[in-house]
Symmetry: C2
Subunit: 199 residues, 2 copies
C-alpha cells in the first residue's frame, strides 16, 4: 500500500505547504494542530482568513493597507502633512510606526523597481505618489530597503521629484544599534564612516 490517504487532511497540509517558509513537515504539524482545535476555533480561524481578505484594501491616498477608506495615518489630524515617507511594503510602515520617531505621512509603493523580476515603475504606486505632490509637501523621505532594488527605486523617484521643487532625503546608513562592529559587512562600515557625525 502506497501511503495512507485522508483527502481532507492532505488538502489542508497542501494549503499550509503553499504558504511562504512552511515545509512539508511543518505543514503536517499545523494541520494536526487545526484538527486538535475546537470546532469553534477552527471556524474563527477560517473566518479571520476570509475576513481579512474581504475587509482590507489599500488606502486611496497613501496605498497602505487599511479597513477604512483612508488609513489611520492619512485620517489623523496630528500628523505632519508636509512630509511623506516612501516605503516599499505595508510592513515597513508598521516597523516605522513601532519605532515611533516619525510623525509625517507615508506612501507605500508595493514593491521596488527590479528589472530582473520584471518589475518596472509602472507596476508600483508611483502615479499615486506624484498625484500627492502639491504645494503642501515639503520633504519626501526615501525609506526603501538598503538593497540594489531599493536604491534604484530611491534614485528613480528622486529624479522625478526634485524637479517639482520638493526636498528629497534618504534614511541614514550605518551600523545597526546593538549590533557588533565585528559582524558588520564592509559596505555598511564604509557607509557608517562616510556618514560619521560630530560628537
Amino acid at each position: 500500500m502506497a501511503g495512507y490517504h485522508v483527502p481532507p487532511l492532505e488538502e489542508l497540509v497542501e494549503k499550509f505547504e503553499s504558504l511562504p517558509g512552511i515545509g512539508h513537515k511543518s505543514a503536517q504539524r499545523l494541520a494536526y494542530h487545526v484538527l486538535d482545535m475546537s470546532q469553534e476555533d477552527a471556524e474563527s480561524f477560517a473566518q479571520a482568513i476570509v475576513g481579512a481578505h474581504e475587509k482590507i484594501h489599500t488606502c486611496k491616498v497613501c496605498c497602505n493597507l487599511t479597513d477604512g477608506e483612508l488609513c489611520p495615518v492619512c485620517r489623523s489630524d496630528t500628523r505632519d502633512k508636509g512630509t511623506i515617507c516612501v516605503v516599499e511594503e505595508p510592513k515597513d510602515v508598521f516597523a516605522l510606526e513601532r519605532a515611533g520617531e516619525y510623525n509625517g505621512l507615508y506612501h507605500v509603493l508595493h514593491g521596488a523597481i527590479s528589472p530582473l523580476s520584471g518589475v518596472g515603475p509602472d507596476q508600483l504606486r508611483i502615479k499615486e505618489l506624484l498625484a500627492r505632490m502639491d504645494a503642501s509637501v515639503e520633504e519626501v523621505i526615501m525609506a526603501t530597503n538598503p538593497t540594489v532594488e531599493g536604491e534604484a527605486t530611491a534614485m528613480y523617484l528622486s529624479r522625478l521629484l526634485k524637479p517639482l521643487g520638493v526636498r528629497v532625503t534618504r534614511l541614514a546608513y550605518g551600523i545597526p544599534v546593538g549590533g557588533d562592529l565585528e559582524y558588520a559587512d564592509e559596505v555598511t562600515l564604509q557607509r557608517a564612516m562616510e556618514g560619521r557625525q560630530e560628537l
Copy 2:
C-alpha cells in the same frame, strides 16, 4: 502614535501566531501572504480548515484519523489482521505507511503515559485496544516513541496484553540508517551493541 492598527489584519496575525512553531514575524509574513492571495484562494484555504475539521474523525476500530467510518487500513482486505502495531499519534501511522514495510493493522493511542503532563492510561485509547484482543490477534508490536513516556507506555501495555496470551514485541533500537556513528548518543550505541545480529 502607538502603532498602526488594522484590526482584521491584527486578528489574522494573532491566529497564525497561535499555531505551533509560528512566531510573531512569521505570523505577519503569513498574514501578508494571505492578503496577496486571490479571493478564491483565500476562501478555499478557509474552507480546507473548516472542511478538515468537519470531515475528519477517528476510526472506530483503530482510532486513527479518517474521513470514513473505518480508516483505509481497517477497511482493507489485503492487510494481515493478526498483527496490530501500536503507535502514539496518527502521524506515526503515516510515517510507517511511507516506509511500506508493514502490512498489519494499527492502533493509535493519541498520546503516551506521562505523569508529569498529567496523562494517565485513562486518557489514552487503551480500552479500545483491549476490546480488539480476540483470538485472531497473534502479535502486538509496540511502536511508541523511544522516549521515557513511550517506553513506559509500551511496558504498561505489555503487562496488560501478555496475560491474554498474545505475543508482544517492540521495534528494534539501533543506529539510524544513513546516520554517522560519531554522532550517535551513548544510549543508542549501547542498544545497537546489545541488539547486534549475525551477518
